[in-house]
């Protein structure tokens, strides 16, 4: 028994030192990350929730395949845009959550995500007499070029039929151009469309090429094209980006934004500082109350609370858990709950002392008898955490998820700190004869 308590004490001390090393890195972040990872509600940024229209997915893919393909394409795109720590997650079966910390101009982000490398081929709209229809500023109106596919239905010719082997080359004049190749279906469509536009060389019409709805070029069709072609009129860097987009492909399913939040960083930082200060004051009140009411055991509980806070913060850093404001609130609230177990244990110890048990036995009984209540109530909190996590995960409510994670962690670690750590310390104190007077205990002499 005694030996076991000594080992436990050693374990607690090692854990504390380890936790402190992680929270205050002296080794430049070898243990865990250097800084806490802040959510966009603190750091500022853009939060976008997309709804995918799975009815329009390619028939060959399952829902899950289509969604994960979309996810990886968006990921590639936001990563290449240089966003720090973007988060792209699937939510439920048909939603995608994109979090872009630090991005305050959401319109640009939306544009780059929503239309990833969608290459379209268009033709000029003609009126009934065969003249080109112009818009108000005198430019021709472009409509999607369609042709009958192998199954006989009319299909629009898009980048969906490209083979992923586009590359940048230079033409005879040294200007960059993008070379592409269609698959057999695309080649058939291209052949039909260019046949019409070429019109045997009589009044041959241009083929409009658009990337993400942006006009690229409109070469006049000089011959019937089948499987291979080039796109001219682009700069070198644009050509490179375009090849990237074309090869990663367009999104497999259309996406629409169903929820969007732009968070201002100053408000978040302000809230963070206030909440942290509030948390510190609250914890100080708890510590004061525990020491005033339970004396020496109260002090032990406060020390255990400090160890608890150290371990929790270390876990946040080690596992790079994103801190959100509700998450921090969850942490602060869990400190209040962490000492609940101590209150139950100490009250029980008082009772046992009144019944005339020795201090040593009272300590042991206090922990033993208070355990069922502590266990049952903490499990019920864990049950709600699981449901909260599910709820937050299904709806992309990252703040709800953050709260669920920190609260659950808090409950688990507090079981360790308020039961194991407190018991170890108290047992040591009793064994070393440091808890003789009942007054030290806040126990009354009645």
């Amino acid at each position: 028994m005694n030996r076991r308590e000594n080992y436990l004490l050693l374990l607690v001390i090692i854990l504390l030192v380890l936790a402190l090393c992680i929270v205050f890195p002296v080794n430049n972040g070898i243990l865990g990350h250097k800084d806490f990872k802040e959510g966009i509600d603190i750091k500022g940024g853009t939060y976008l929730l997309y709804q995918a229209d799975l009815s329009q997915k390619p028939a060959s893919e399952t829902d899950a395949q289509a969604m994960s393909a979309v996810q990886s394409k968006i990921e590639r795109r936001v990563n290449s845009a240089g966003t720090t720590e973007p988060i792209v997650q699937l939510q439920g079966s048909d939603r995608i959550l994109v979090q872009l910390p630090g991005i305050t101009d959401s319109s640009e982000a939306i544009q780059s995500i929503g239309a990833v490398g969608l290459l379209e081929f268009k033709e000029e709209q003609l009126d009934s007499s065969g003249n080109v229809v112009n818009d108000s500023s005198g430019n021709p109106v472009w409509i999607p070029a369609t042709a009958a596919g192998t199954d006989g239905t009319q299909k629009e010719l898009t980048g969906a039929y490209l083979l992923p082997n586009s590359y940048v080359e230079t033409d005879s004049l040294g200007k960059p151009q993008v070379a592409f190749e269609f698959n057999s279906e695309g080649a058939k469509l291209m052949e039909e469309i260019t046949t019409v536009l070429y019109n045997n060389g009589v009044n041959n019409r241009p083929l409009g090429i658009f990337l993400d709805s942006q006009f690229i070029s409109s070469p006049r069709v000089d011959a019937v094209i089948t499987n291979k072609g080039v796109i001219q009129g682009v700069t070198l860097s644009f050509a490179r980006d375009m090849v990237n987009d074309l090869n990663s492909g367009s999104l497999d399913v259309p996406l629409t934004i169903i929820q969007q939040t732009d968070v201002n960083a100053t408000l978040g930082a302000d809230s963070l500082h206030k909440s942290l200060l509030a948390g510190l004051i609250g914890i100080a009140c708890v510590a004061f109350f525990m020491i005033a009411y339970y004396r020496l055991p109260g002090l032990v509980a406060t020390v255990a609370l400090g160890i608890y806070a150290g371990i929790i913060l270390a876990i946040f850093k080690l596992f790079n858990i994103t801190l959100t404001l509700p998450g921090i609130a969850g942490f602060v609230i869990s400190t209040g709950m962490a000492v609940d177990a101590n209150v139950l244990i100490f009250e029980r110890m008082k009772e046992e002392l009144k019944r005339g048990l020795t201090m040593k036995m009272a300590v042991a009984e206090g922990f033993h008898r208070a355990w069922p209540s502590i266990w049952i109530s903490n499990v019920s909190t864990l049950i709600t955490c699981v449901i909260l996590y599910w709820f937050g995960n299904t709806f992309g409510a990252f703040m709800v998820k953050g709260f669920a994670i920190t609260l659950a962690l808090g409950v688990i670690v507090s079981l360790f700190s308020s039961v194991t750590v407190t018991r170890t310390f108290l047992t040591q104190l009793v064994n070393n004869g440091m808890m003789k007077g009942l007054t030290l205990y806040g126990g009354k002499h009645d």
Binding site: D262, L267, I281, M337, I383, A397, A404
Partner: protein, 317 residues
């Protein structure tokens, strides 16, 4: 010793007095949903220099948004912050709105916290939020029944704990329904988080009392169930208060000086923890006694339709 059990119907009355206005408010006004649950757009705009609320209202109407809800963000740092709710608009429309306001009010507006939600996601979130709360309650009930499986009729313990839990949730939701139309306090995903957390925490104190009742029953010193319950409540009274106090300390600090974002979130938790303590001490165990004594029958006999029972009861008396 405080006789809580003998005054149980007084405590039920107090609970009813708090809950009934909330339920009426819920039935009439529902909850004031924010853009998590309601299709639409919300945006916080700060003006430099500050503009008058009425002037802003006029400018919003002129810009084509006569239905906009305009609220001075009272808890913000600078006094010129307005929280504005609109029908669903895009970010491009928002940019137009901001430039319109700039010209019409002759002040520089800065927009932050732009949130927009479409109708599809809003209705679905509400439905799943309700499911989440119900599933949580059922899981906890099953778990408590399981934890007290060695007691006679363990299911009763679970049911009584859950009635106390639902009592707490009704208090919180009812108060927020009232706050919704009096102070325009809006509820969203964070509110659901608070409600579920209250659900988890509410049973903490109840379990402490229940566990003590179980212990005293097993000891068998007191033959009478009612006395055992009363005795157990008194024995655990101090710890029920103290455990809640520690949580109330931190919540109160967060409520007073914590961030704006979590202000009402913390308030919901605070109300929940306080009512949770009350219901654990005054309601949950009292319900066990009511059930044990089969006092339900008295209520049933009050219902006009089953007056037959009443007559029989009178006869036997």
């Amino acid at each position: 010793m405080i006789n809580i059990i003998s005054k149980r119907y007084w405590f039920f009355l107090i609970s009813a007095l708090i809950i009934v206005p909330g339920i009426i408010s819920l039935a009439v006004k529902q909850l004031n949903y924010n853009t998590d649950f309601k299709p639409g757009t919300s945006v916080t705009i700060s003006f430099q220099p500050q503009v008058d609320e009425n002037a802003l209202r006029t400018a919003m109407t002129a810009a084509g948004y006569p239905d906009a809800t305009i609220q001075l963000a009272s808890t913000g740092t600078s006094s010129g912050n307005y929280f504005i709710s609109l029908p669903e608009i895009t970010i491009a429309q928002e940019t137009t709105l901001i430039s319109d306001l700039k010209t019409s009010l002759n002040s520089t507006p800065t927009a932050s916290d732009f949130t927009t939600t479409s109708a599809a996601v809003a209705s679905q979130t509400v439905r799943y939020a309700i499911i989440a709360v119900i599933v949580a309650a059922i899981c906890i009930m099953i778990y408590i029944s399981f934890a007290f499986r060695k007691m006679p009729r363990p299911f009763r313990w679970g049911v009584c704990a859950i009635i106390a839990l639902l009592h707490d949730l009704l208090v919180v939701i009812g108060i927020f329904s009232i706050l919704g139309w009096t102070l325009n306090v809006q509820v969203g995903a964070l509110f659901i988080t608070a409600v579920l957390t209250v659900a988890g925490y509410s049973v903490h104190d109840t379990i402490v009392v229940f566990d003590r009742i179980r212990e005293n029953m097993l000891k068998g010193n007191l033959k009478d169930f009612e006395k055992t319950v009363d005795f157990s409540i008194n024995e655990t009274f101090v710890r029920s208060l103290n455990t809640s106090l520690t949580v109330i300390f931190v919540l109160f600090a967060l409520f007073l000086i914590g961030g704006v974002t979590i202000h009402y979130f913390v308030l919901a938790l605070l109300i929940g923890v306080i009512t949770g303590t009350y219901s654990s001490i005054c309601n949950a165990s009292a319900l066990l006694v009511v059930w044990e004594n089969n006092e339900w029958r008295r209520f049933i006999s009050w219902i006009p339709g089953v007056s037959k029972n009443k007559k029989q009861e009178v006869k036997t008396v």
